[in-house]
């Protein structure tokens, strides 16, 4: 069971809370990284909140329960906001952000986990 983005084509994004059967929309700006112990953002995780029941899914960059959707969400997030680690700025080309996310995926779950084209 998880809350994940099912459609990125329009803003706000369409989300599904699969086992609960909930659907709705979330503003991409509300999707945030988790915090490290020192209070900084952790670029390996993003949080999506169900707009219906307030359940919270913390997705790892590797994809967790929904690898294709989650990896795409990380790519879109880093493209729009840059990465809190400082390696990618919001003004950088989208391909740089995607490369950065792919590197994160490989580090977290190993090569072969990447599911975007």
């Amino acid at each position: 069971m998880s809350v994940y983005v099912s459609d990125f084509s329009t803003t706000p994004w369409h989300v599904v809370h699969d086992d609960a059967g909930h659907t709705g929309t979330v503003d991409p700006a509300t999707i945030a990284h988790t915090k490290n112990v020192d209070g900084t953002d952790n670029h390996d995780y993003l949080i999506v909140v169900c707009p219906v029941c307030d359940a919270v899914s913390t997705h790892p960059v590797g994809g967790g329960a929904q690898p294709q959707s989650v990896q795409q969400m990380f790519v879109n997030h880093v493209t729009a906001n840059g990465c809190p680690c400082g390696q990618v700025a919001a003004s950088d080309p989208a391909s740089l952000g995607e490369s950065h996310v792919r590197l994160q995926v490989n580090r977290q779950d190993g090569p072969g986990r990447w599911q975007l084209g």
């Binding site: 699969d18 995780y45 029941c53 307030d54 359940a55 919270v56 967790g64 986990r113």
Partner: protein, 388 residues
Amino acid sequence: MAFAQVHPGDLIQSQNLNQVVNALNGTAGDGQPVLLVALNDPNNYALTVQNLDPTNCRALLVLKNDGTTLLSAGCNGVTLGSPLTLAAGAQIPNANLGPDVARANQLTNGGFEIWQRGNGPFTTNAVFGPDRWQLFVGASSSLSVSRDGSNQDAGSQYCAACTYTHAAASQLYSAIENFTPLRGQTVSLSIRVRANAANAARLFANDGVAASYSGYHSGNNAYSTLTLTITVSSTAIRLLMGVELDASCTAYLDNATLVVGSQPANYVPLHPADDLARCLRYYQTLAGTGYTYFLPGTAYSAGNAVFVWPLSGRMAVTPTLTTSAAATFANFSPTGTPVGPPTSIGAGSVTTATVQMNSTGGNGLTGGNGTMLLSNNASAFLIAEANP
């Protein structure tokens, strides 16, 4: 009729000789009617015997000195006596194994016994119903999958009940995590299927290169075993195996196996601990009613605490952690009472082995003290889900 002894000096009567000749010719009533097809045939066998009696075709019986059977051969098959000694290096190839010879099942939850997400009905495309079994609902079709404890196969506890209205082909399938070592190998899928419509339910396999299908269930609303044997492509990029529904029906699925080799295997249940352990590799949950103790932790201020969930075995990949709303949780105060709820709860970091969680914005805690994460009501849950 027994043969008559001919003693030294006896006159041999024609009937004595005819008994032998008739027996060899296969004449009923004169011993067992046996046709000696060949004797010491240099090109074939030293002895070939055929029993011509149409109702009694036992051909050969070899006895030990105590009268017990060493070897018998006839219409009911071949029986070997004891001790049975095979020559060194003798092998029974996979293709000659019976389906009741148990072999390692590559499927997780092949018996459809474990439903950690609930009993259903599950109706949404791409969701999981029974652990590791996922729905694909074709466009404009409807598929409802539920746990069923009334229509299961003999000896089973539960099956998957599928109520299906057809528009485009739909499936209930399992993705094989460990498909890479199966590239280039022959594998056989077997599932017990009961369907009430002909040409509605069949097995399918898809390795990302090609799709293969079994024949359809007859639609007689009785369980039968459907099987499908394929050679997985050497360039397979996935391995999905399950049941495809191609016409409206009610179908019950039970006792699935996927084994290496050309001979399908019957389902042999795992010990429940092993069955569940496989499922926990992909999905783990903690849930409770009021004040169920979930996780131990440490408060680091009056309102905030950190917890660690040591997962039950390593998961397949780093999981997604999903928690119910913060209001469904409570913390355990230094005075031994539930306090809270926190204003937010979620994961800090997640690995395949542990989940670190934070609750913030609560009250009644004391920094530096131990605490617990509790459910505040029956809606509380923690779920770790890893789908490779």
